[in-house]
Symmetry: C2
Subunit: 307 residues, 2 copies
Amino acid sequence: MKRRRWFFVKAASVLLLAAPLAADEKAAPKPPLTMGSVLEASRASDWMPLDQANTLYMQLPGKQVVIRLVPEFAPQHVANIKTLVQEGYFDGLVIVRSQENYVVQWGDPAEEEADRRPMKKGKDALPAEFDQVVSDHLSLIRHPDGDVYADVVGFVNSFPVAMDSDTGRIWLTHCYSMMGAGRAESPDSGSGAELYVVIGHSPRHLDRNVTLAGRVVQGMEILTTLPRGTGGLGFYEDPKQYVPIESIRLGSDLPESEQAHLEILRTDTKTFHDLVESRRNRHESWFADPTGHISLCNVPIPVREKD
Amino acid sequence: MKRRRWFFVKAASVLLLAAPLAADEKAAPKPPLTMGSVLEASRASDWMPLDQANTLYMQLPGKQVVIRLVPEFAPQHVANIKTLVQEGYFDGLVIVRSQENYVVQWGDPAEEEADRRPMKKGKDALPAEFDQVVSDHLSLIRHPDGDVYADVVGFVNSFPVAMDSDTGRIWLTHCYSMMGAGRAESPDSGSGAELYVVIGHSPRHLDRNVTLAGRVVQGMEILTTLPRGTGGLGFYEDPKQYVPIESIRLGSDLPESEQAHLEILRTDTKTFHDLVESRRNRHESWFADPTGHISLCNVPIPVREKD
């Protein structure tokens, strides 16, 4: 919605446009934060490299999607996905579904048929991993602006989460680009053999209804621009429309030269705190109203190429 | 995230899965609402036809996008867009921008150049129409689940809105598929000659920063699947990537045979109220957790072909 001639943010006197300042801030005004200035000031230790043992590389014709797995929240699903990947289960399967403002999904189109692809060591069904009791190893960075769906939201290890403070249960949230494991009617029927990625406005009603297992960190635009399926729920009606998956590989099984050298901004850092503030209160001169709030799924988790 | 074999929702004993019921509801349980059952029970008067005098038809090669304008909130921008449409301003212009998880935008790629397309009666800049004082002609249907960005949210004439109850000011919100008028640095620099549509997670920080003027009601999948631009902010770097706009026409200037005969669910109806309830508490048997809430931009505004 910027017109092209205001392509780059001007370093104008943006404080004039900012929200009213508190008295002490007036006394000693700080330079306003923008996402650009915050990231520019970040230190190497604010970033973490991809853990290649928990990174998937999905090869589509001429294109690659990189996915960060999240064993902290879905240990059994992540382990099973890795087992399936290592036995080559996904290689030659297809993207079966692309539903407008919702999800893209892949797996075995014959999964209900007698000739479905057999698994070797992989399991066909797993207990639901919808949520868990919060524990010390999950260091929650609370988000300040509340949420429509949960009483606490925030970030754990650079993933968006929600928590019920009454029960102490915590779960991953269905923000844009999160990846989950499709399931049938029973909550315990998912396995990770059929996976979906959120491509529209975040469908938070799926939280705690299906197991989330990761997030796309590179290549979202490949999934979002796939033609939509014309069948119910966006399934492709004609097998000719399926998008072939050449392979899915685990990063730690690839030579280093074929790994993506990406870094994720750590959410347990002052830099991330400043980033959130810079997005809550927009100081870029284009903004007439700095907003003053941001919802969980609008907070960007920056990813960069490692130097 | 449904596996294919659970394609259709089963009519199981879904009350068992629903949220705890109030005592009086236990005494006389109502059949659970689903979006399907609510729409099936709707009456003709729950729907309104497109107002062809405020409907745009954007022709792309072999495809058509239908946009509902909203003069109640942006009278000057809507009037100017209609003037520009009627003088053929957009015909032969292009889609210049497709930014992942954000917006698609169209207009004159030469707008900063000496050879930019001249306007005849259309105006090049208009006063901002970011918000207005709520008045009797805007009948607000309040949404029950709160919001991160505003203290009141809801619907007016089947558009999503937010309101500040202290000031009584009301505005359209940047939900998925909403269309706005790009502007330069000055809030009063937009005109409707450059238009954008939200294609990602709803960027609510743009609310009250830019004038919204309508919503795509048919053809979103055409815009969302356009290749992303590789330039800054998703602008196409190579003019060969531009998507040509064959024409934009106003419905009331078209013969009836070329108009889309669509109906929008009215938000000031019991049916819409029931629809929201059916989405706040998901009674389809697949849902393990009925959720109990829904955020403004997750509420669907159904559109159907007129019989």
